[in-house]
Every structure is written in structure tokens, then in C-alpha cells.
Symmetry: C2
Subunit: 344 residues, 2 copies
């Protein structure tokens, strides 16, 4: 394997000169530069990343830290798209992306020491669900920049994070339904333990208030994210006197159950009740009728989190930042506005 010495010898210069050529040092003359580049090409030379890393004290590596056992992070159908966004930015900057799994690594003595003191990474991106004060302290003590994927929950410290604009997403869902002449908008699947759910409900309320519609607590149903709970919650709404004419579902799984409940009651979608959900996934498009969704751009979430991380690496003193990414509506059969249901 050709080393920088071999290149130096072949080009008839010193290793210093070769190093400077590679790193585009301006003090190299054009002729020398070309001699060196030719030698590099002839020998098919590529710099040894570990030697480079050792001498420049930079691993040129970013870590994506996940927890496979945590459903909210790794086992999320969106996750690979987030990763794609991160990966794109990381490689553009000539860094490497390493993926590490907390639950695998926790069996080791100390993950962060291994990762950070071991000089394996220059920065970490990690889902908010695995962040707690201990993690923040560990990262801060090691002086390692990090960005949270998602708004952190109940954390005293301020940290850097990127998230979908869930509040706006909640507003967007309601405004969309109101624009379609709906009067009673329900919200099912609210989960007070999830920040994103809290934000979406905030948006729901804000949109109603803004539209001078009284908030009816009876239209908010709490529940977990499953089709069974979706069915149960929708049934609960339908058993009341004053049923809603539209429903915002916290998730696609919930909307599947809710749709079945509505159909079982002999009501038509979207004529009698229209349905909208968050988090566009393949499922929303595949079931029948297909579900209108508020789409989140998780690729962009990845891109922005990586960009934020590089900013922190480059300018260490930067103040903590929060970045929100906007959403958009994707209209499907559960809310077709002209009140005609489409065929398969």
C-alpha cells in the first residue's frame, strides 16, 4: 500500500510537500503540485485516514446514536430517511457516519468514553427519546457537540435540537378541515407523554381559537398508538349525542381503527365524517379509503440536524438552537373536498 513517503520519493520531493499538496496549501508551486498529483495518481495513493486522524487530532466522523429497543427511535419507518438526510450532509463534508446502538453498547463499560475519549467521533446526533440529564452531562463533560432529533422531553438543560413543527402541523390539520366547512373537529389519540402530541394538540386549540370556535374538551380523546385504540376512541366519540363531522388522528395506525369504527356505524367517509392523520407513511396510501395526512419531511430533519451539528463543531461557542421544519397537507380519499369518493 503506497504511503505518503512513496509518493514523495516518486515525485522527487519531501513528504511535507506531498502533505501540503494534498491539503491545498497555497505555498506549493504549480509545477511541484503537478508532479505530486501525477505521482499520487501513478501510485493510486489514498491517505491513511487513521494516520491523518492521529496527527490532526480529528476523526472526521459523526455518530448517529440510536436505541434499537426504543420504538420511538430506531424502529420507526421514517428512521432510514432521517439517516439518509444525515448521511448526505456528513459525506459532503468528507466525514464518515457511524451508527451505534445504545442498548448494544451499554453492555460495555462506558459508551461515551469509548466513543469520545477513544476519539472515534467529533459529534453525535441522537433521538430525543434517549436523552436525559445524565446523557447531556456525559456529552458536555466530554466537550462533544450533539444535536437532538426531536424536541427533548422534560429536560432542565437547554440543548440543540431539530424537530418537525408539530404545533403548526396541528393547526394545519384543523384549518384544512375548517376550510372544508367542517364545524366539529375531534382529536383522537392524544398522548400527554409525547411532546409531539402535546404540540399538535396546542396547534389544534390555537387554530380553533383563531377561528373563533369554542374548544370542546369532549372532542379530545386520549389513547395509545394502535388500530385497536383508534377503533375504541372513535366508537367513544360516535356514542355521544353530538358527534363530530371530522376527526384528526394522531397517527396512521389510529386512523385505520377510526375509519373502521366509522364504517361500522354506517357512516360515510368523508361525507359524514372526514379523517386526517399525521406522519405520511406507506400505510396511509395503501388502505381503503386512503388517508389524508399532514406530511412531515424527515429527510430534511436529517439534513438540518447534521448541518446544525457541523455548525457546532466549527463554532464551538454557539448558543443553543431550536429548529422547526414545516409540514404540508396531502389530500387523499378520507377528506376529498368535493364530497365524491374515488375508486381504487
Amino acid at each position: 500500500m503506497a504511503s505518503i513517503k512513496d509518493v514523495a520519493k516518486a515525485a522527487g520531493v519531501s513528504v511535507t510537500t506531498v502533505s501540503r499538496t494534498i491539503n491545498n496549501n497555497p505555498s506549493i508551486s504549480i509545477e511541484t503540485r503537478e508532479k505530486v498529483l501525477k505521482a499520487i495518481k501513478d501510485l493510486n495513493y489514498s491517505p491513511n485516514s487513521m494516520a491523518k486522524g492521529l496527527s490532526s487530532n480529528n476523526s472526521y466522523t459523526i455518530t448517529l446514536l440510536v436505541n434499537v429497543e426504543d420504538e420511538k427511535s430506531f424502529y420507526n419507518p421514517f428512521f432510514y430517511e432521517v439517516m439518509h438526510g444525515i448521511e448526505k450532509v456528513v459525506y459532503e463534508r468528507e466525514y464518515c457516519l457511524i451508527v451505534a446502538n445504545l442498548s448494544t453498547m451499554l453492555k460495555k463499560e462506558n459508551v461515551l468514553d469509548w466513543l469520545i475519549k477513544g476519539k472515534r467521533t467529533e459529534g453525535v446526533i441522537l433521538p430525543s427519546s434517549i436523552i436525559d440529564s445524565r446523557m447531556v452531562k456525559g456529552l458536555r463533560n466530554n466537550n462533544i457537540p450533539f444535536v437532538s432529533l426531536g424536541e427533548p422531553t422534560s429536560l432542565r438543560e437547554t440543548i440543540n435540537w431539530v424537530d418537525i413543527n408539530n404545533r403548526k402541523a396541528g393547526e394545519q390539520a384543523v384549518y384544512y378541515l375548517l376550510d372544508d366547512n367542517r364545524k366539529r373537529v375531534a382529536f383522537i389519540g392524544y398522548d400527554s407523554s409525547k411532546v409531539f402530541s402535546i404540540r399538535r394538540l396546542e396547534g389544534y386549540k390555537a387554530a380553533l381559537e383563531n377561528s373563533k370556535i369554542n374548544f370542546d374538551a369532549g372532542l379530545i380523546i386520549e389513547g395509545r398508538n394502535s388500530k385497536e385504540d383508534g377503533y375504541r376512541m372513535m366508537k367513544a366519540l360516535l356514542n355521544k349525542n353530538d358527534i363530530p363531522d371530522s376527526v384528526v388522528c394522531a397517527d396512521n395506525l389510529i386512523s385505520i381503527g377510526a375509519i373502521r369504527a366509522i364504517q361500522d356505524s354506517g357512516l360515510l367517509i368523508p361525507q359524514d365524517i372526514s379523517v386526517i392523520s399525521f406522519d405520511n407513511s406507506q400505510i396511509a396510501e395503501l388502505i381503503y379509503p386512503s388517508v389524508s395526512t399532514i406530511n412531515v419531511d424527515v429527510f430534511e430533519l436529517g439534513v438540518q440536524s447534521a448541518k446544525m451539528l457541523f455548525e457546532l463543531i466549527e463554532k464551538p461557542g454557539t448558543r443553543d438552537q431550536e429548529l422547526l421544519i414545516s409540514t404540508n397537507v396531502e389530500e387523499r380519499e378520507t377528506t376529498i373536498r368535493n364530497n365524491q369518493q374515488h375508486e381504487v
Copy 2:
């Protein structure tokens, strides 16, 4: 940041001794060993991975190479599970997993040189869909072990690969239906450009032959993997004189379309026609009726590919291997055997 020298000084020994202690060299006396371990703990020392890598000429890193723009690899809902399997094995061996995207990296001069000559990786795992002769040559020339995720298509070279046992999966689907007293088993969504599809059809034929049932080419319908094509293919079968009493769908998406077609014809599932599909995904469980599937264990696929790779790294001369992972049936509503349809 504490280095090995600091530890040596604190323990009152040489760096050699510290290094030996870390690497469990048997020639270190118990007392010395304990002195060193104490110093390591006191200083909160972790070895610098790049220095270690440089001197031992081992990056302790495995690369998962994907192509985001290739639907068959990265944008596959199973992919993160495969990754999880790989990750588990990789970190157990104290290696790092780096994820690299071909299409991002191809914009660079030469991905493999950057990765391999740059001493960034000891081995590569990559989906068969991005393997061609050029890739194989590149890896072989660089003397870098690699394992293909999936049986390679039309490749002259023999290489190491791990795949789902698709032939057996095809047999399994047919045997399952025959055991349920079905007589005419159709197969829709056959795609001759996909190895896994070819294998599954082989299994289908083998199971029929083995059961002394004549093969009827009219029961095989070719088509793409979409719900629209599933609908079309099923309709084609239903328009014939002698319709099937059961159908094997190449994929979940196809089964969704097929189910709709059967229902539109006024036939009952599973009473009149039972449906089975491959590749258990969330969708199979969520749609109505839920689809019985031949389940593939993609986590295991990841585990085995990583294990194979480490074997190649440890014993370079090993002959090329092919490893097949078995499948199992998951019974759901489209094939309930007692001919009673379940509720939601």
C-alpha cells in the same frame, strides 16, 4: 485527554506495560496489572482508536454500503432491521459500523479507494442489487472481504452471500395451501428480473410436483410490485373459466390489490379464495382482512451476513459461501383454515 503515557507515569511503569495490560498480555504480573488498571480508572483513560488503528494497521470498522437511490436496498422497510442485526454482531466484536451511501459517494473520485486504501474499513456488507463485476473486481483488487445481502444476479464470479431461503419459502406457501385442501394454487406477481422471485416460483413448482399436481402455466401471472398490478393480475385470473381456489402473492402490495379484486368479484376470502403473501410487513397485519404471510427473518439476515464477514476477515483464504435462512408461516385472516372469518 489522558494518553497512555499519563497512565504509565501515574502507575510508575512504562507505556509498554500499560499497552500489554490493556491487551491482556499474559506476561504482566498481577500486582503490576492492578496498579495499571487503577491508574486507568483514576485518569478515566480510553485508548485513542486512531493511534491504535495506525500502529496495529486495523481500523476495527465494518462498512454497510447501500444505495439510497436504489429502492431494493436502502428504501426497504426491512432495511433497518437488517442493519440492527449487523450492528449487533459488529459491536460485539468491538468494531464500529459505518454506513455509506454509494450514490452520495460516487460523486467522489473513487469510493473504494477512499474507503479501503484510506484504511477506513476492514470489510464491506452490501446489497446484491448494487453488486456488479466492476464492484467485485474493485473489492477483490483491494483485497477487502465482503458479503452480499441477497443472492447476486447474473454474476460470473462466485462471491459470499446470505439470503432468505426463497425457494423453500415458495414451497412452504404452496404446502400450506394444499394442507388446507386447496386444489388450484395461483402465483401472481412473478418478476423474472428478480432472483428472489425466480426462486419462489421454483419452490412453487417443486411443491406442486412433489404433491403430484400438474403445473398449469395459466396460473402464473407476471407483474410488478404494486397494488394496482395486484388488482389487474387477480382480475385476469378471475376472468378465466377455471378460477383458482387460492393465490400466492409475490408481495404484500400485490396482495392488497388482489384482495380488492376478489372482493369486487363478490367472492369471499378465505372461503372461496385464500390468499398468502411473502415478506411480513406491518401492512399485512393492518389491512382488512389481514394477510397471511411467509415471514422472513431479516434481523437474522443481518446477523449472519456480519458473522460471515468476520469469518472472512479472520480466515482470509476461506472458500466462498452461500447461506440460506429459513422462513415460517404466519396465519392471518386471508387463510383461516376453519373457514370462519374473524372480526377486527
